[in-house]
Symmetry: C2
Subunit: 254 residues, 2 copies
Amino acid sequence: MQLEWGDVTHVTKVDPAKPLPADLEVLSGTDLVLVGGSDDVTEENTLEAIDALQATVPDTPVFQEPSSGAHVSSATVERADAVAVPAVFNGDRDHFVGKHVELFTEIGEQPGELLGANLPLVGRLVESKGRDVVAELAANLVGEGYVVQHLESAAADRAGVETAYTPEQVAGAALATETFYGFPIFYIEYSGTYGGPDDVEAAARHLEETRLFYGGGIDSAEAATEILEAGADAIVVGDCFHDDPETFRATIPE
Amino acid sequence: MQLEWGDVTHVTKVDPAKPLPADLEVLSGTDLVLVGGSDDVTEENTLEAIDALQATVPDTPVFQEPSSGAHVSSATVERADAVAVPAVFNGDRDHFVGKHVELFTEIGEQPGELLGANLPLVGRLVESKGRDVVAELAANLVGEGYVVQHLESAAADRAGVETAYTPEQVAGAALATETFYGFPIFYIEYSGTYGGPDDVEAAARHLEETRLFYGGGIDSAEAATEILEAGADAIVVGDCFHDDPETFRATIPE
């Protein structure tokens, strides 16, 4: 999967359980789309969202970011450019390592079967090509080191997050991501509220290879600029994409 | 840190809390030494072991494998070729992510201070060179994806391991190590008992970049050969190094 990381400064998070805006051309200024959400996501609405996006902005990479293995199928893996898998530093054990080992155990054990629910996972390809496709699927997984900082969010509830990190702990998680776990993305998630630049500044000091994403409450050019100037490689904009295309447009750097 | 992984097939685990054998020349056939143990390890006895090893087999790389941050100091980091840090897949949250974030938070927050206890961590270097040395220290940390399979061992007790993995789960953890967490070593630890080739065979199928280490109960050429033929890149031999140099010598491949 070839993605020019240096070019990614604006990321749109599309919730497939929410209606898409009438005019998807608003996406023409974004550099990457993540498709995923916490509530009411299914494989079907994920595929519908991917199809709509690829029909409108075919040159923009689209990553599936599933919150459950049940949202992943042969079709989503084939049609998305990558599958982004969060590992939540301040969540429970399941959401940093437990579910991941389950996922990889399934991939390794039953390449013709599905992850999570009873859907086919690249079944045809795997049966014909065997281990090469398992390797290809594994190569399409992008690890994201996450900290979830808004405790009232659905994301915090799902991942078992009970305590937000201090900026010093965010910096530690960033350093661990860069030097120990080796995930290509470190993601500070304030889901639904604006967290300001402090965590971003703390994390940015330690990141060179790993890209720093910030998401949460970005609804103006000023907020976008503040976060990017604090050292984020990219801002992630979600809610206003669905609710308010004009505001969304204002968050895209010129 | 330049290590020719392809050349490492025999690893010796030296417990610094145990007496070293009278003739350390027995180590001349081993490719890598790990210094660490579960009980009674201190910074002082770690340094004594490293010094004795480097005086006898100066060309053999020596990694510190601390079971606590209190065993790590500026002196151990400077004298060991690397610090190997286990992340235990089937342990508790602390031993896969919790303690690691604490460690990296300390490294990031107080570069002039120590990890864990109140000892200086590369203090002089950090104060004079700043971030470059933090990067250098981080670069000297080698991640090890661990599964601890002998529940009666001290290692299992320390890491909160309550359930051994099936071979399918070992394979899943190996695949996760190779493709998601990116640790350079995957280590199947049967600490104190011989686990046989099944887990090794299951894991070896999924590993290309990551090196596969097996440790536990290797006390003959036959056991060493069985594990290496099952697909391990290296066997790790510990107990008999301290107890029985002749048996130890027999485990070194010719």
